[in-house]
Every structure is written in structure tokens, then in C-alpha cells.
Amino acid sequence: MTRKFAGAVLAALAALAGLWLMIAPFALGTQPEGASWNSATVTEFVTGLGVTLTGLAGAVAFAAAIRADLAARGLVRVRERRREPEPAPAAPQPSSGELAALLAPLVEALREDLSASGREPRSNGSAPLGVGAEDGR
């Protein structure tokens, strides 16, 4: 455990050193402003980038190893990823036959209503529009 911790600290320090390497040419003034990068700047910047990435990867790897160690000893509870509940199956749609059976009484009532209104005069109390208008004058 201690060796992994020391490794993580060393890798993190190396990542910081890499960051310093990337900015050193500008901080120390060895790279003139506005001019194209000289060989020293390119070397330091590229090496610094590599050191930063390697240091970060090492720190993350050692941290993961420490976590696995702690989990193996039971000091850290490893959370299991929650599975998202599967969506409930949609209610079965009524088939066209069932729909026709459902609507049959309604259709029948409408048909009866229409045929009845065709035989009898309207009895809703309203007079035909043309007749009433003529009488009022």
C-alpha cells in the first residue's frame, strides 16, 4: 500500500515538473517573444507534454491500485452500477376487430337516431328561419 502511495505521489510530482517544462522557455526568457520557437523551446515543450501525460497516467494507475487494495480489504465499499429499469411493455393496442365490436353499439344508436330524424319533423322548438322572419315584418 505504501509503495503504491509513494508511486502516486512521485507520478503527480512528475506531472507538475512536466507542466513546468512546458512553460519554462517563456518563464525563463530563453524563447524570444513573437519569434518562431527555437530548438530548445520545442524540445522542452514536447518533453514536458510527454512527462505531464505520463505522470498523470501513472498517478491515476497508482490511485486505482490503491482503491482496489482498499476494496479487497473491505475498507472501501465498491458501488455497483445501478441498472436502469427496463421500460414497462406498452399496453396492448386493441385490434381493429375489438375496436369495431366496441364501436358497434354507438354506430347502431347513431343509425337509429338518423333514421328517426328522417321520418319525424324536428321537435326542438325552433321554427324555420324564413317563416319567422317574414312574420315579424
Binding site: 503504491k4 508511486g7 515538473a17 518533453t47 501513472g58 497508482f62
Partner: protein, 79 residues
């Protein structure tokens, strides 16, 4: 697995530190016989620290692993 990756990173950092120490002379931005430039001094310090630190880390890791192996061997011999 993760620890092995970390050890690999330390080994890479050691090699990079050595490269940084050699870079001013290999790339040629440190003229021969002249006084060290600021870039060279910086590279020597950072490279030396990087190589030394990662070497110490690797050596410590190996020593701890050996100690653990020895302890396990002693335990199995006693039981």
C-alpha cells in the same frame, strides 16, 4: 494491473529524465565549451530530479515487493 501500469509510467519517466539531461547536447542548443545557458541549466535540474525521483520510486517499489515476497515465504515455511 493498475500498479503495473504505474510502474511502467515510472520507468518511462526515468528514461525521460535521462533524455532531458542529454537533450541540450544532443539537440545542440548548448554550444560546446560555452557557459551553460538558462535552458540547459533548467533541463539538467529538471531531468536530474525526474530521473533520480523515478529511480528512487522504482527501487523502493521493488524493495517493498521483495520484502512482501520474503514475508510470504516465511509464513508458508512456518505453516
Amino acid at each position: 494491473m493498475s500498479a503495473r501500469l504505474g510502474v511502467t509510467a515510472l520507468a518511462l519517466l526515468f528514461v525521460t529524465g535521462l533524455w532531458l539531461v542529454a537533450a541540450p547536447f544532443v539537440v545542440g542548443y548548448q554550444p560546446r565549451g560555452a557557459e551553460f545557458t538558462a535552458a540547459t541549466v533548467n533541463d539538467l535540474w529538471v531531468g536530474g530530479a525526474l530521473a533520480g525521483g523515478s529511480f528512487l520510486g522504482l527501487a523502493g517499489y521493488a524493495a517493498a515487493a521483495l520484502r512482501e515476497l520474503t514475508a510470504r515465504g516465511r509464513q508458508s515455511a512456518e505453516s
